[in-house]
């Protein structure tokens, strides 16, 4: 067990981040050292996880690592364990990539701010917390990591305390976040009282057998705790306020990483700890909550006037997609859900970075005041469009591949289970996708196209560091969109297989044969096979689209298409916009005045939603309690 | 949403189109359509009535001195005409006629001008002994002697006081407004400058006491 054997890599991945945080506090006085330290710790963590991919993903091995060498004695796990199976490594990789890109972005993004040292400390603590949560195999250890990431996220939301609403958003996040953490803590305590162990694998072996009321209450508490972290429906306004105020690189982390950790918790909880996904009602819970948050958040996003709040609501709506897919409990559903989770981190990260670029250059993200930035920031516009097209699922980009798998999964589930409810979910999913496209058309018209206001006349392009970070995400968007089979074979299929092979998870932790001895009916490890029904093979589609586009452009250029007449003199009426003959004054159609037809027809719905999202923290706390009560009721009746 | 005209749409699909195929089929104008102006210079007496009543002041008159007399050209600018035909109504000699030809399309200004000219010969009488009428100095038009009325040599009208009943009809009808009649003072005066010797007063006078 030499220091460099792969067994230690999980703990190295976590510790490199925490060590980085510690060193930045100590030595982070001057900028270069601080940036170098942050970069090294983030890339080290990414490197360690990449080294594990061959072993865990392809060979299917599950790494069980007992901290301090305390192996289980007498059938009881005393020490704290880290367990990395395909699912945790999948989420770990996702987190490491997002953290890496966000760190590169924040080098130049945070240049204007002061006390950036604290920023990097909290940044690395947040990253370490999430990495710890995803890789740990011990329930209490997961709770500690949840605490770390919640406090780091709250502090980072309020980092720019001069910004309006930053403190208030952080306070709201703190209140409901702590309610969620306490729910997790109480749930963990109740499970420990039942099974006298905190080890995740042993717990899932012991708990699944006898489900008495205590475990049912524990399930409800844990479920609500993790959904606060994932900002699912009753808790989504927090995300909107948090993203509105937090710096863009932190929004990337919150939306790309924090919500995924919440999802990871829910998947672990429902598939492993309680193994209750077989129940139809449990699937109904996840699918219902998922499609509810999918639809509510996308309609709320359409009504937003602020770029980052709009993106925040979208990230919750995409989380709704992932939750719906994960709730189907079919091989294709899980794989589609995980694939969409990965895509979501990538394109949502890209969009938040683009929002940060706009904020960095113009100082505002209000859709009403911006406009025409494509003339001054062409690269950011192209990168934003790639992100916008992939989130709304336009074929050549990655959003389409995963959404398309989700539609198939929900529709196949509807056909297999004969229950028409899932059909409704497919329809909601498809309509939500169009509404996502609508809100991104709104953003592109209000921010990047349309007329350039006078105050942003001398806006320049963002520095190269930020564009490079956005470029990485854009490249990932296109690559994962073009080679879905590559992604599914090496990433999502092993992860989906891991989700179903609970027995293997327990045995690798507690020693072979443990699962059979303890559990009444140890779940057999299913073989993951699903046939993708459609015939979407992106490379040849894109090839044909490219050839067609090439043919069109060649014919156009042959017809002297680009011999256009541009404006010769500074003022010449011919190249002014047509205003019905009037002098073409500055008039931008953007922000609130778009989609009147849709808003008019849904005005009662929007009115009700407007009153519901009051922005007062006690309303949101009340919602959290109501949600907890409903969850308790549900789990007591159903489980 | 309802489809109000489906029946008509389908039925019209099979019926003949109500289109007057204009460029192919000639479509004459309505019977008394006021189209292009035709000007008959021979009838015109250049009384200037049309020019004064034309609302679009589309009519201009040009007088040139030539040896045979005054060559008067009247031009009607169709581009400035409202085709109300008031000039035709007022023309006592109906020298202006509105035809049914509505094809008034032009690329150059000139195409829209209708003009005609005529020579206005001075009266056939023996030439005036001394000063020419136009150059008559500003002596006031005196009352003609009460003896038997003798026609004036410049062809302008003169009234016979014995027969005149001062009904003021001639003054009303005079296009140029050259005659003043005062019923109380029983006087009849003629303003030489204005008078164009058109003869309307002679025609109109019920007592035929005006002789030219």
């Amino acid at each position: 067990m030499s220091m460099l054997s792969y067994q230690h890599f999980p703990i190295y991945a976590i510790m490199s981040l925490f060590l980085g945080a510690f060193l930045v506090v100590m030595l982070g006085k001057n900028r270069a050292v601080r940036n170098a330290l942050a970069f090294i710790s983030v890339s080290a963590s990414l490197g360690f996880l990449l080294a594990l991919v061959k072993r865990v993903m392809i060979d299917g091995e599950v790494i069980a690592y007992w901290m301090g060498g305390r192996v289980p004695a007498g059938g009881y796990a005393i020490g704290i364990a880290l367990e990395v199976d395909a699912l945790s490594l999948f989420f770990g990789l996702l987190i490491a990539v997002a953290v890496f890109v966000s760190c590169v972005y924040s080098f130049s993004y945070m240049s204007h701010d002061d006390n950036v040292r604290e920023y990097y400390t909290l940044f690395l603590m947040l990253a370490g917390g999430v990495m710890g949560l995803v890789l740990s195999g011990d329930l209490f250890n997961m709770f500690i990591m949840v605490e770390i990431l919640t406090f780091a996220a709250v502090a980072l939301t309020a980092f720019r305390n001069t910004a309006a609403g930053a403190l208030e958003a952080a306070f709201k996040y703190l209140v409901v976040g702590c309610m969620g953490s306490t729910c997790i803590l109480v749930g963990t305590v109740m499970l420990y009282a039942q099974a006298h162990t905190l080890n995740f694998a042993q717990l899932s072996a012991l708990i699944a057998g006898d489900m008495n009321t205590a475990t049912k209450v524990a399930f409800a508490l844990l479920f609500i705790g993790f959904s606060t972290k994932a900002f699912i429906v009753p808790f989504h306004p927090l995300a909107a306020d948090a993203h509105g105020a937090a710096p863009a690189s932190i929004s990337v982390l919150i939306s790309g990483v924090l919500t995924k950790s919440g999802l990871y918790g829910i998947i672990r909880l429902t598939y492993f700890l309680f193994q209750s996904m077989g129940l139809g009602s449990m699937q109904f819970l996840l699918v219902f909550v998922g499609s509810l948050s999918m639809f509510i958040c996308v309609t709320m996003a359409l009504a937003q006037h602020d770029f980052k709040r709009l993106l925040a609501f979208h990230s919750i709506s995409q989380i709704g997609y992932v939750l719906t897919a994960a709730g189907l409990c079919t091989a294709m559903g899980i794989s589609a859900g995980l694939y969409h989770a990965m895509n979501h981190t990538i394109f949502k990260g890209l969009l938040f970075l683009a929002a940060g670029a706009v904020l960095h250059q113009t100082g505002t993200t209000d859709l009403g005041r911006l406009g025409g930035l494509s003339k001054r920031m062409p690269h950011t516009t192209v990168l934003f469009l790639i992100g916008a097209f992939s989130i709304s699922g336009i074929p050549p980009f990655n959003g389409f591949a995963s959404k398309w798998m989700i539609y198939q999964a929900t529709y196949m589930k509807a056909v297999e289970s004969g229950n028409i409810g899932f059909l409704l979910v497919t329809i909601i999913a498809l309509v939500t996708s169009v509404l996502t496209l609508a809100s991104f058309v709104k953003v592109s018209q209000s921010v990047f196209f349309g007329r350039l206001p006078a105050e942003f006349e001398n806006v320049k392009e963002v520095p190269f560091g930020m564009r490079f970070a956005m470029g990485i995400f854009a490249l990932l968007c296109v690559v994962t969109g073009l080679f879905p089979n590559l992604v599914t074979n090496y990433l999502t299929k092993p992860a989906a297989a891991a989700v179903f092979s609970v027995g293997n998870y327990i045995d690798s932790m507690m020693g072979a044969g443990y699962a059979e001895s303890v559990m009444a009916a140890p779940p057999a490890a299913p073989v993951i096979t699903y046939t993708e029904l459609g015939c979407w093979d992106p490379v040849s589609w894109l090839l044909i689209l490219a050839i067609a586009l090439l043919a069109v452009t060649i014919v156009a250029l042959a017809g002297k298409y680009d011999r256009v007449s541009l404006r010769p003199a500074a003022t010449d009426a011919k190249h002014d916009l047509f205003f019905g003959g009037e002098e073409s004054v500055y008039s931008q159609v953007g922000g609130g005045d778009l989609f009147w037809g849709f808003k008019h027809n849904w005005r009662h719905y929007f009115g009700f939603m407007h009153d519901l999202h009051s922005g007062i923290v006690n309303d949101y706390a009340l919602w959290a309690l109501v949600a907890l009560a409903l969850a308790l009721l549900f789990s007591l009746i159903v489980l | 949403m309802d489809f109000p005209f489906i029946k008509e749409a389908i039925s019209q699909l099979f019926s003949k189109s109500s289109c007057a195929m204009y460029p192919a089929a000639e479509s004459p104008a309505a019977p008394n359509y006021r189209g292009r102006i035709v000007y008959h210079p021979d009838r015109c007496i250049a009384c200037g009535m049309c020019e004064r009543v034309c609302s679009g002041n589309a009519i201009t008159r040009r007088v040139e001195k030539t040896d045979e007399g005054d060559k008067i050209t009247l031009t009607f600018n169709l581009g400035s005409c409202t085709f109300c035909a008031t000039c035709a109504d007022f023309c006592s000699r109906n020298a202006i006629e509105f035809t049914g030809d509505y094809h008034m399309v032009a690329t150059k200004e000139e195409d829209l001008l209708v003009s005609g000219s005529f020579i206005k010969k001075p009266p056939a009488k023996k030439p005036a002994p001394a000063a020419k009428p136009q150059a008559a100095p500003a002596e006031a038009p005196k009352e003609t002697p009460a003896c038997a009325v003798v026609p004036r040599e410049d062809g302008k009208p003169v009234s016979d006081p014995s027969k005149c009943v001062y009904c003021t009809l001639c003054a009303k009808k005079c296009p140029a407004g050259a005659i003043e009649v005062d019923r109380a003072a029983k006087t009849w005066a003629l303003d030489e400058e204005k008078c164009v010797a058109c003869g309307t007063c002679a025609e109109v006078c019920p007592k035929k006491c005006i002789i030219m």
Partner: protein, 145 residues
Amino acid sequence: MFKKLIAESAAKSPWLFHINAGSCNGCDIELVSVLTPRYDAERLGFKLAGSPRHADIVVVTGPVTTQSLPRVLRAISQVPEPRCIVTMGSCPQSGNVFRGSYSVAGPLSKYVHVDVDVAGCAPKPEAVIDGLALATKILKEKRGR
């Protein structure tokens, strides 16, 4: 071959853009009546375009009041080449009864080269069709150059 085809079709699909420079709407109704089933200018390819960018023939009605003069000239300048300007009725040609008024900025030909004028105080639809047909011929020659 291609250039000839374009010149041919320039005459076959002239799109109109109508500018009302203070007209009494007599000519405006006549212009629109040209597109009704009775006279149906669409069978010759005419179509009313919404924006000057789509227009080939600009039809101006009304005596070009001082208020509308800058707007008329700006709208006309925004029409892409090759274009034709047709004045309809007597007003744009000469100011008609409004000539000499303080608020009439005079005939259009003072500011812009007018290709075709259709006379008539509210010309007959047939006359308008003649004028437009003449304008398409001019368009074709302009295109030909």
